[in-house]
Each structure stands twice: as structure tokens, then as C-alpha cells.
Amino acid sequence: MIELEQVGFDYGGGALFGDVSLSLPAGSFHFLTGPSGSGKTTFLKLCYGALNPTKGRILAFGDDVAAATRDDMATLRRRIGVVHQDCRFLDHLPVADNIALPLTVSGRDLAQEQQNLTDLLGWVGLSERADAYPAELSGGERQRAALARAVILSPDVIIADEPTGNIDWDMSQRLLRLLVDLNSMGKTVLIASHDMSLIRAAKSEVQARVLRISNKQVQLAGADL
């Protein structure tokens, strides 16, 4: 699904990644871990094309992301659902409209997608909160709404950046289960998290692999969790 070939990246203040080669096969479940500031968010942005590598190349669905036109990029973003660290809602629209935003921008007939939206709201447990505004949501509700928005177009790949960052343990478990659900439907999942206990909990539920950032490299961690 996503392949990195000798990727290097540098914001301008020294290389963040040196020479990273790896691939995320279809249907895989990966965690990306590393200390704060190690480059987790940056790595995810490279994967979904928000940043271009300064060295090497990244293939998404077989195409070089750097060569994508702006419209190709829009298409790519519909195929990769992203849960951003800070969720990124439109604050003037209610939750249901925010979750439906990918449908709106891709010109889908919302009347036809109404059932899809209702199901999705139920799945993330936000049926009662559909008309609330993002500012009225709790941290966990925001993350679940963001996840619902990320998956509404039924993307092949789901990328989540610290989805359990500032929510309590029970809620993180719940969110994790949603992501495991998606993986069991065949979606490729990549989650950045520095929460090792969450990762350990997940390993009992899903065939998850852990990528660790260290020394400008991203490598599969051993079984020493």
C-alpha cells in the first residue's frame, strides 16, 4: 500500500530521517513509536503526502507521491483516512457535518449516504452528539468523531496520529477496538503513539507490528515490548 524507498527528510535544521526503506503491506497493522519530537508526525505526513521526502521516494498505491498533481493529492487523501493529532474540524459546522465533510468535498450525494453516516455515528458512539459543535465535545468524543470522518469514504489506509493522546484509558481502549475493527475489515492501519501500554494491550488483540524511530531510522522493533 505504502512503500518508502531510501527516504530522507529534513525540515532544514538537520536530517530527521536518514535512509528509511520499509513497506506497509495491505491489511497490516502498525504502530509507530518514539519519543516526543522524534518525528512520528513527520513520518505520517510523509506517508499521506502532506510532506515530500528530501531524499528517496514514497509510493502510495504504487504511485510516486512526489509526482502527484494537486488533484491527484486530493484523490490520495480520499484513499487514506487520517486522524490528525489535533483532529482539525470546521468549528462552525456540527459534528455530523464535519464527519460528512469528505463526502461533501468529493461531491457525493449526501441523501444516499445518510445511512452510512448514521451507522458510522452509531459505531463511534456519537449518535446523540450529531448536532453538537466540535467545541462542545470531550477529548474522546473529538477523537472518535475524527476517526469517523477519516473512514467515511471507506479508505484503504487509515493513519492515526496519537489518537489516544489526551483521553483516559477506557476511552483509548474503545478507540483502539474501533481501529482493530477496521483492520479486521482489511484496512491497512498505521498508528503513531508513544503510549507503550496501549501498544501492549493491542498486541493481544491484533497482529500488530511496531516501528520505532531512533537514530534517524524507522525500524521494526523486536518482541522486547
Binding site: G49, A50, L51, R70, D71, M73, A74, T75, L76, R77, R78, V82, H84, R88, F89, L90, D91, H92, L93, D97, L101, P102, T104, V105, S106, G107, L110, R149, L153
Partner: protein
């Protein structure tokens, strides 16, 4: 053109992705209305000047006047001679000596109507109506000089020319005003678009992040601002037309000032004001939006 209407008719839901905005939108409405109002006046001025210039420069449709002086007997003989000459001159449709009453009527506004005109040695006037194409003024005057002393042809060009020049100058001013108004509108809408786009940078970013194409994002903003410019200038146009309608009518006096307005189908011309404004706003916001979008991945 199809793109223009297609974009304008975008659905309400995709328009809501742009948050309702405050001051900028009211200012844009106001400027569009003011410009629409002014454009109607500039248009009225230009079109009136155009009519006046046309009317006065159309020499062939004007009558000329022949003046014959001399004492009563000479006048009579000369008038007969002149009428003969006029009858032979190609390009003249008709010629006719004015009656004493008609001549008196012409003088009445200046001298009053109780003057014993019969006692005054007034010249005899002959009205000459030209055909199309007309006659050779210089040749006719030359022949009159040779054959009928005291006969002077006046085709009014002496005082018509400055009127035509003035009317053409006014028409030019009207056109320049219209161009300036259009330019001002384009500049204002561009500024408003830039301000709106800058204020909504986060919205644009989120839209791009969830997979919106540039055309969708630009369309949402272009629609918002174009409709606003259209509504504003439409309102300004209506007020402008009302104001022109309410100008006091000139009645019998046929002067430029009392004539300002639109004639016949000319009343449809103000309808072009909101249309042109909308097209200008459409293009200006489109350009501004595309520039802004380049800042987002």
C-alpha cells in the same frame, strides 16, 4: 460561461463549508451597491451624450436656413431667384420661405409678441431640408454669392460643432468612469477575496486535508463573493435607476441636462451593471483563490 453558471449554482451544503463572515462581507456589499449606483449614472451620462452627439452631428437630417436681406422689393425678387437655384440644386429635398407669422413666432421669445414686425426690415428666411446624401454646402454658397447678393446660407454648423464636441467629451468621460468603476470593483473584490481567504486559512487547510480539490475550495469562496457582489450591485443598480427616473423631466425644453436618462431599449442597459459586476467578481475571486490555494499542500 457554462462554468460561470455551473459554479454559481453550487449546492447550499458545500457553501456552508465557508463560515459566515462579518465585516468584510458587509463592506463588499456596500461597495458593490455604491459602484452599481454610480455605474448607472455613468451609463446614463454616456448614453445621453451619445444620443446628443448623434443628433447634432447628423448634419444631413438638419435643416439649414437661408437668409435674404435687402429692402422689401429686393427681398421678393431674391427669394424667387434663390428658390429657383435651390430647386436646381441636387441633394435638396425641399425648401420653403417662412411666412411672416412663423418669423414673428421665432422672434417672439426675444422681442415679445406685440412688436410691429411689419415695420422692421427683417430678412426673409428660407428653410432648406436636405436629402441623403446631402448637397454641397460650399458650392451652393458660392453660387448664391455669384447670383443673388444678400443671400446667406447658414447650416448651423458653427454652433452645432461645439455641442457635438462637448457631447463627445462627456461620452468619453462616461466611458472612462465606467472603466474606472469596473476597475475599482475588481480591485475591491480582489481585496475582499484575499481578506476572506486569509481569514479562512484553517478552513482551506482542513478542506484540502479531507480530500477537496482546488476547484471545490475555490468554488465555495468564489460563489460566496460573486453572489455578494451580484446582490450588492443589483441593489445599487435599482436605486440608481430610480434616481435617474426621479430626475425632474425637462418638459418642452430640450437641453442636455433635462435629457439625462435612458431612452427606449436603453433602459435595459443598467441590467448589464450587476452582470458585469458578477463576472468581474467571479474572475477576480477566482484568481485570488487560486493564488491562495497554492500555499496549501
Amino acid at each position: 460561461m457554462r462554468r460561470f453558471f455551473g459554479l454559481l449554482s453550487g449546492d447550499a451544503r458545500s457553501d456552508r463549508v465557508v463560515p459566515p463572515s462579518g465585516t468584510t462581507s458587509h463592506l463588499t456589499l456596500f461597495v458593490a451597491a455604491a459602484m452599481g449606483f454610480l455605474a448607472v449614472f455613468a451609463l446614463a451620462l454616456a448614453m445621453t451624450a451619445d444620443r446628443v452627439a448623434d443628433r447634432w452631428s447628423d448634419a444631413q437630417s438638419q435643416s439649414a436656413t437661408l437668409r435674404i436681406s435687402g429692402d422689401a422689393e429686393q427681398r421678393e425678387a431674391r427669394t424667387a431667384a434663390v428658390l429657383d437655384i435651390l430647386g436646381e440644386t441636387p441633394g435638396i429635398a425641399s425648401s420653403r420661405p417662412l411666412t411672416a407669422e412663423e418669423q414673428a413666432a421665432l422672434l417672439a421669445p426675444w422681442l415679445g409678441d406685440d412688436l410691429p414686425l411689419g415695420d422692421l426690415p427683417l430678412p426673409q428666411l428660407i428653410e432648406v431640408i436636405a436629402e441623403r446624401p446631402g448637397y454641397d454646402t460650399d458650392a451652393l454658397q458660392q453660387r448664391l454669392n455669384d447670383e443673388v447678393p444678400g443671400a446667406v446660407l447658414d447650416d448651423h454648423s458653427g454652433w452645432r460643432a461645439p455641442i457635438v464636441d462637448a457631447a463627445r467629451g462627456l461620452r468619453r468621460l462616461g466611458v472612462i468612469s465606467l472603466l474606472l468603476i469596473t476597475g475599482t470593483m475588481a480591485a475591491t473584490v480582489t481585496l475582499a477575496a484575499r481578506a476572506t481567504l486569509a481569514a479562512n486559512a484553517q478552513v482551506i487547510e482542513v478542506l484540502r486535508l479531507v480530500g477537496a480539490e482546488d476547484r471545490f475550495v475555490a468554488g465555495a469562496f468564489v460563489r460566496r463573493l460573486t453572489v455578494r457582489a451580484l446582490v450588492g450591485s443589483g441593489a445599487g443598480m435599482v436605486l440608481g435607476v430610480l434616481a435617474v427616473l426621479l430626475l425632474p423631466p425637462g418638459g418642452e425644453t430640450q437641453g442636455f441636462l433635462t435629457e439625462i436618462g435612458f431612452g427606449g431599449l436603453g433602459w435595459l442597459a443598467p441590467l448589464a451593471v450587476p452582470v458585469v459586476t458578477a463576472v468581474v467578481a467571479f474572475v477576480a475571486t477566482g484568481v485570488a483563490a487560486r493564488q491562495k490555494l497554492a500555499e496549501f499542500s
